[in-house]
C-alpha cells in the first residue's frame, strides 16, 4: 500500500513530465482577435479624478449628515406648526476617532480598522484579507459598543446592532454548524467584473433560515450584495451546537464566528465587493426595535465610507 509521501512524489513527478505542449497556435489565434476584441474599461480608470483629500471627504460626509439629519428631523419631529422653535441639533465633530473597545459612545464620527492590516506580516493583507483599510461612520447619541458590535438596546427585545466581518466559511446549517457543510460566501463575477447573483451564494441556502432575494446596492461607496435573513422565532438556539447559531466563521481565527443571534432576529447582510476576500457588514435588529432606532440605523449605514 502506498504511503502519502509516495503518492505525492508520484503525482508530482507525473504532473511535471514534459507533455510537449506548444501554445503557438493558441497565441496566434488570440493575437489575431485582439483588433476586434475591445477592452472593458473599469469605472475607476475611466473616472480620473484627484484623490480626495481629508478635508474634501469630510465635507462630503458633513453634507450627507446634514441631509440625513434634515430627513430624520422631518420624520421624527414632524412639521413645527405654531409651537416654539425646535432646538437645533448640536454640531457633530467630523474628525473620525477610532472606535473604542467598549462603552457608551457620544455622537460623532468613528472608524474601525481592517483588523488584518497591521504591522504583523502574518496577519497582513499580503496573506489574504478583505481589501479595505477603514470603515468610517457617524453615530447619533445613545449608541454603544462592545465585543465588536456597535449597538443600541443590546441584548434586549429592541436591539439594533452592526458588526464587520471577514468571513472564512459559511455554514450551510448555522444551528448544527460543527458538522455542517460549508459554502462560498463571496458572490460570482462575470467576465466584466460585475456581480452575478447566482444560486451558489451560500447565504441563500442556509438550513432553516429564510432569505430574501439578494439585491445589488451601494454601501460606503462600494457595490454590495444585500440580503435579508431571519431566524425563526420558534427556534430554540439552546439546541444548536454549543448553544450557538453561527452564520459563518471569521477568517484565519480559530473557532470564532458570527454567533450573535437570537430567535426572531433579522440580519440585513451586506457582502461588499472588495478584492481578495469578501467584507461583510451584518446589520441586525430584533422585531421589537423602534421605528426611531431603525431610522437612526439607516442613517448610520448611509453615512458609511469604506476606505480602500
Amino acid at each position: 500500500m502506498s504511503t502519502d509521501r509516495e503518492v505525492t512524489r508520484i503525482v508530482r513527478s507525473w504532473l511535471n513530465e514534459d507533455r510537449h505542449e506548444d501554445a503557438d497556435r493558441v497565441l496566434d489565434t488570440v493575437l489575431a482577435e485582439l483588433e476586434t476584441t475591445p477592452q472593458r474599461r473599469s469605472w475607476w480608470s475611466a473616472w480620473r479624478h484627484p484623490v480626495m483629500n481629508t478635508t474634501m471627504r469630510f465635507a462630503l460626509v458633513a453634507a450627507a449628515i446634514v441631509i440625513v439629519a434634515l430627513i430624520g428631523y422631518q420624520l421624527i419631529a414632524g412639521p413645527n406648526v405654531g409651537g416654539p422653535q425646535a432646538t437645533p441639533s448640536p454640531t457633530v465633530d467630523l474628525t473620525p476617532v477610532e472606535l473604542p473597545a467598549a462603552g457608551a459612545l457620544e455622537a460623532g464620527t468613528y472608524f474601525v480598522r481592517n483588523p488584518y492590516v497591521d504591522e504583523d506580516p502574518v496577519r497582513s493583507c499580503e496573506s489574504g484579507c478583505a481589501d479595505y483599510q477603514r470603515i468610517i461612520f457617524t453615530l447619533p447619541d445613545g449608541w454603544a459598543t462592545s465585543d465588536g458590535f456597535v449597538h443600541k438596546e443590546f441584548g434586549k427585545a429592541g436591539e439594533v446592532a452592526f458588526s464587520v466581518w471577514t468571513p472564512g466559511e459559511t455554514y450551510l446549517d448555522p444551528c448544527h454548524w460543527q458538522e455542517s457543510a460549508v459554502g462560498p460566501l463571496g458572490h460570482s463575477h462575470d467576465a466584466s467584473g460585475a456581480i452575478v447573483l447566482d444560486d451558489q451564494f451560500a447565504l441563500l441556502n442556509q438550513v432553516g433560515r429564510p432569505a430574501s432575494a439578494p439585491t445589488i446596492v451601494t454601501l460606503g461607496g462600494q457595490a454590495a450584495v444585500r440580503i435579508e435573513l431571519s431566524i425563526p422565532a420558534e427556534l430554540d438556539i439552546a439546541t444548536c451546537d454549543r448553544r450557538e447559531f453561527r452564520s459563518w466563521s471569521e477568517w484565519d481565527v480559530v473557532d470564532f464566528g458570527n454567533s450573535h443571534h437570537a430567535s426572531g432576529q433579522i440580519d440585513v447582510v451586506y457582502v461588499v465587493d472588495v478584492d481578495r476576500r469578501p467584507l461583510v457588514i451584518d446589520a441586525s435588529h430584533m422585531p421589537g426595535a423602534s421605528e426611531e432606532d431603525l431610522a437612526e440605523f439607516e442613517a448610520i449605514l448611509a453615512s458609511m465610507i469604506i476606505e480602500r
Binding site: 513527478s13 505542449e21 493558441v26 497565441l27 476584441t37 477592452q39 496573506s127 489574504g128 460549508v182 462560498p184
Partner: protein, 182 residues
C-alpha cells in the same frame, strides 16, 4: 512578471499584451492541460483565458497581482470548458508489462495510465487544487487566493484529492486479470 508590460497592456497597448501573452501562454496551456486532461479543451481554455485577460485587464487595480489574477481567469476558463464537454476515457485495463522501473520508482506505461484514470475521477475543483499546488508549486494560501476560496477549503480539497489518488492507485496495483477493452 514585468509589471510595466501589465500596465501598458492595461492601457490598451496591444504590443505589450502580445509580449505578456507570449510569456504566459505556454504555462497556461500546460496548466490547463493538466487540469482538463484533454489538449483540445486545454487549448480552448487557454485561448479564452488570454482573451478574458485582454478584455478585463483594465479591471486589475494592482499590476503586481497579475499572476494570481490571471490564473484565476484560467481556472475559470477550465471550469467552463470542463462543463461543456464530458468525455470519458475508454475503460481499458492495461496488462502489466515487464518494464524496468524508472529511477523515480514507477513503471512508466502502466502507472501513468493509472494516474491518468485516478486523476480523471476527481472533480475539476479537486484537480485545480492538485495542479496549482503540486505542479505550479503555489503555497496553499496562494492557491486559495487564485481560486477565491478559504485556505481551509483548499486544504480539505487537496487532502481529499490525494487520498482519492492513493486509493485508486492502490486498487489498480492489485493483480489484474487479462481483459479486453470494455
Amino acid at each position: 512578471m514585468d509589471t510595466d508590460l501589465v500596465v501598458r497592456a492595461r492601457g490598451g497597448d496591444q504590443e505589450a499584451f502580445a509580449d505578456l501573452a507570449a510569456t504566459t501562454a505556454d504555462g497556461f496551456l500546460a496548466t490547463s492541460h493538466r487540469i482538463l486532461s484533454d489538449i483540445d479543451l486545454a487549448e480552448d481554455a487557454t485561448q479564452q483565458a488570454l482573451l478574458s485577460i485582454w478584455q478585463d485587464l483594465p479591471q486589475l487595480r494592482e499590476p503586481a497581482r497579475f499572476e494570481a489574477w490571471s490564473f484565476r481567469l484560467l481556472v475559470r476558463a477550465c471550469y467552463a470548458e470542463g462543463r461543456k464537454t464530458r468525455r470519458w476515457a475508454p475503460n481499458i485495463r492495461l496488462l502489466p508489462v515487464d518494464e524496468p522501473m524508472a529511477a523515480d520508482g514507477f513503471s512508466s506505461v502502466v502507472d501513468r495510465d493509472q494516474l491518468e484514470r485516478a486523476f480523471r475521477r476527481l472533480s475539476l475543483n479537486h484537480r485545480s487544487v492538485v495542479v496549482l499546488h503540486h505542479y505550479l508549486d503555489l503555497p496553499l494560501d496562494e492557491v486559495a487566493d487564485v481560486l477565491g476560496v478559504p485556505v481551509g477549503t483548499v486544504s480539505s480539497r487537496l487532502h481529499y484529492a490525494m487520498r482519492a489518488m492513493r486509493t485508486a492507485l492502490d486498487a489498480d496495483a492489485r493483480p489484474a486479470s487479462r481483459e479486453a477493452a470494455q
